[in-house]
């Protein structure tokens, strides 16, 4: 039976409070959701790329992880966990280990879309039995909100600032989920902590318990970087999904499936308005920028619908 909220509530927490992530941080919501998909009887080794999550969850001598955890560097969570998984396979074969372990790597969009994409791509291509989870908060938050290739177009970041002549980031975001789907690995999904969490729970469960490599791209709000009030976390997620900025879908053995279709597709403005990083777009002279964004979002949404046979 697919994991639901009620079942998840009964499972032990594998990521404890006492970490130093910001109040209202989406990253730990994402992590908790993914880890709930682990069967309580299974052990896990978790890896993380350098980033907010890592430095806040494992600040010597405290670890927030109840499973074995390894941090290596910024750009190599994929390779690091593939090494752990290779060790597990051989030690199991040699009879030195009895327990069943699952392997999960977490990275932000910096460690995943950008500096870590080679290591991730290599790990997925080699077919390690692992899940790579990107908690995508659309900028390098750990170093102070610099643009990444996941940053939405026109977002104001500290290296794509909205100025008098340049209105924020000049490029649309990279579609990493599709890049990963092109690896033809058994399971790729785009998800978010959303509603009753069934989408993320089920995708995490599939990702973890599908043999071979799997990739999850999880929309993960950052109140500090996006500049919204912390209590609004779940509203922001819902707006990202209902505006089709962040569609929920999965690619299972090459089969594309939309897992959520908004009843009413909202205009992108609704997603932009609550966030300070888009404030400059709401000046009257910048109306065309919002239109530009809307056009691209529509185009990508249509393409996705087509791929998913909708």
């Amino acid at each position: 039976m697919a994991l639901n909220l009620r079942e998840a509530a009964k499972r032990p927490e594998r990521f404890t409070g006492g970490h130093r992530l910001c109040a209202g941080c989406g990253a730990s919501v994402t992590v908790r959701a993914v880890l709930k998909a682990l069967k309580p009887e299974d052990k896990a080794v978790i890896g993380a790329a350098t980033g907010c999550l890592e430095v806040s969850s494992f600040l010597y001598p405290y670890t927030a992880w109840k499973d074995s955890f390894i941090h290596n560097a910024f750009e190599n969570a994929g390779a690091t966990i593939s090494g752990v998984e290779a060790a597990y396979r051989v030690l199991k074969k040699k009879g030195k280990i009895d327990d069943t372990y699952k392997f999960i790597a977490f990275g932000g969009d910096g460690g995943t879309y950008d500096i870590g994409i080679q290591s991730l791509s290599g790990a997925m291509e080699r077919g390690h039995d692992m899940v790579y989870v990107c908690y995508d908060n659309g900028a390098y938050m750990n170093t102070g909100i610099q643009r990444s290739s996941a940053t939405p177009k026109y977002a104001n970041t500290t290296t794509s600032p909205a100025g008098k002549v340049v209105p924020g980031k000049q490029q649309f975001r990279k579609d990493l989920t599709q890049v990963m789907a092109a690896h033809n690995i058994p399971y790729v999904a785009q998800t978010a902590p959303f509603g009753n969490f069934s989408d993320i729970y089920q995708k995490a469960e599939k990702a973890i318990y599908t043999e071979g490599p799997a990739f999850l791209n999880v929309f993960t709000p950052c109140p500090r970087g996006w500049r919204y009030d912390t209590p609004k976390l779940m509203e922001i997620v819902k707006l990202a999904i209902d505006t089709c900025y962040w569609p929920l879908y999965e690619v299972e053995n090459g089969k594309w499936r939309l897992t959520y279709k908004p009843k009413k597709k909202l205009p992108i403005e609704d997603f932009l308005r609550p966030q300070g990083r888009f404030k400059h777009l709401f000046k009257p002279e910048n109306q065309h920028l919002i239109e530009d964004l809307q056009k691209e979002i529509d185009r990508r949404w249509e393409m996705l619908l087509e791929r998913c046979g909708e």
Partner: protein
């Protein structure tokens, strides 16, 4: 079962006693670190109003909605940072959100 290693590290710990390579032997020991003092706003959960829909527990970034036997039983103020996500997500307005004294 062999003895588990538990090494208490403080700012008095010398290089001879510190764990090699920064290894930490006590998984989840961040629990001992109290982030509750970061809070400027305090969520207050009212058990009598709670319908046990459970929507609040997964959204807490600090694992601070206490759940026992699948039911919400309270808030872990040792770790709750007062972000208010639980307050906002509750469809039944079970929480109050008040300034810390």
């Amino acid at each position: 079962m062999k003895d588990n290693k538990k090494v208490t590290i403080t700012t008095e710990t010398t290089w001879k006693e510190i764990t090699p390579g920064g290894i930490v032997y006590e998984a989840g020991n961040a629990h001992n670190y109290k982030t509750g003092e970061w809070r400027s706003m305090r969520p207050i959960w009212h058990s009598e109003k709670c319908k046990q829909c459970l929507l609040c527990f997964p959204v807490c970034p600090d694992s601070s909605i206490l759940v026992e036997d699948g039911k919400v039983v309270g808030i872990d103020y040792d770790h709750c940072k007062g972000c208010g996500v639980c307050v906002n997500v509750c469809p039944f307005n079970v929480f109050d959100f008040v300034k810390e004294e």
